[in-house]
């Protein structure tokens, strides 16, 4: 009997706390647990597509909330993981065909999922136009990333620049840990061959981007 009363009392106490406005923000660990549950309960997905919801180590590190800064150790880990992710094309050639690269740069499609199906495309686009200014005078371009207009004109088309550019597209986080740029090669959105074409589009003197 006594016990029962005590239970009742504590229940009232808890309710009282909430009513009295003493509800508070949950701590970090609780927040994470609740939010992660929401992710996996909020989407419909196949076993294959589940990987798009699961964070890899770098994505975990790069999901800083608000103004929280990356620590040096974390940045170093992201860079290390990025460096390890890079694969070069079988041919060994890092500069492909700029015309193919031009088309890829202006293609924003590929890999999107609706009703459980991936959009059917021959290949994924490189998405560049969405976020970067490209050839001079082009209007329909984004500005989330820095302009790429005159990219090769400014940097030249040496082997070192070609390699840097390839790596930058393959996994931008090797040079800019946790930047907004998708790791297009590392996430397998683009193939190594496709990336060589985009490299050509950026550094070839004939490319409209360098005109």
């Amino acid at each position: 009997m006594k016990n029962n009363n005590w239970l009742k009392w504590s229940a009232y106490a808890v309710a009282g706390l909430i009513v009295a406005g003493c509800a508070t923000y949950p701590d970090q660990a609780t927040t994470k647990q609740m939010a992660e549950k929401m992710v996996f309960e909020g989407f419909t997905y196949s076993a294959e597509h589940k990987s798009r919801l699961v964070q890899d180590r770098s994505q975990q590190i790069c999901s800083k909330i608000g103004d929280e800064k990356l620590t040096q150790a974390e940045a170093a880990e992201v860079v290390k993981l990025a460096r390890a992710s890079i694969k070069f094309p079988a041919s060994g050639k890092l500069v492909g065909d700029w015309k193919t690269g031009d088309k890829l740069a202006h293609n924003g499609a590929g890999d999107r999922i609706r009703n459980g199906k991936e959009e059917s495309r021959k290949e994924n686009g490189a998405l560049c136009q969405n976020c970067h200014a490209l050839a001079p005078g082009e209007i329909n371009v984004g500005n989330v990333g820095p302009p790429l207009t005159g990219y090769g004109k400014q940097r030249g088309n040496s082997e070192a620049i070609a390699k840097y550019t390839y790596e930058k597209i393959y996994n931008a986080w090797m040079y800019f840990p946790c930047s907004n740029m998708p790791r297009l090669g590392a996430t397998e959105h683009l193939t190594p061959e496709q990336i060589t074409h985009v490299v050509a589009f950026l550094i070839d003197p004939q490319s409209p981007i360098n005109k």
Partner: protein
């Protein structure tokens, strides 16, 4: 004729009666009040043919016509276009999207009491001059403004 029509309206209680009249077959759909649809102008694929079908032999460039439209349309499906004519006795305003498959989008006959201003929204397939042709005192005047059309979305 006009007088007759107005009397009819008055007698039958105004606009509300129109549907009744139409249903009774008293008025042929679209023909009672509206001028006949200018089929040849609307079905022309070339701007020159549109001009001909509107009856405009020659066009006079005019600064008295103002076209209000965005320089860049975010979405070609809904491009706002407004035309104001300050030319005295403006009788009609036509709106033409030059690069559309059928360039003539709309033609507005302005009657006494109407102001020489119209505003609407048109579909544009690609970047194009939007041209206004204004008929005033039997003469034809024109002005144009380029509207850049970009494909929306990320597809």
């Amino acid at each position: 004729m006009k007088q007759l029509r107005r009397n009819f309206l008055k007698l039958s209680g105004g606009a509300g009666a129109m549907a009744v009249a139409a249903a009774a077959g008293l008025l042929k759909a679209g023909s009672a009040w509206a001028a006949p649809w200018n089929k040849s102008a609307f079905e022309s694929k070339a701007v020159a043919d549109v001009q001909k079908s509107l009856g405009a032999a020659t066009l006079i460039e005019s600064k008295e016509i103002t076209i209000t439209a965005p320089d860049i349309a975010e979405n070609g499906a809904t491009v706002p276009v407004a035309v104001t004519s300050k030319i005295p006795n403006t009788q009609s305003i036509s709106i033409i999207a030059e690069n559309n498959p059928f360039p003539l989008a709309a033609s507005f006959d302005i009657m006494p009491g109407g102001d020489s201003y119209v505003s609407t929204r048109i579909k544009m397939g690609k970047t194009s001059d939007v041209r206004a042709i204004v008929k005033a005192d039997g003469k034809f005047y024109t002005a144009a403004k380029e509207v850049k059309v970009t494909v929306g979305g990320c597809g």
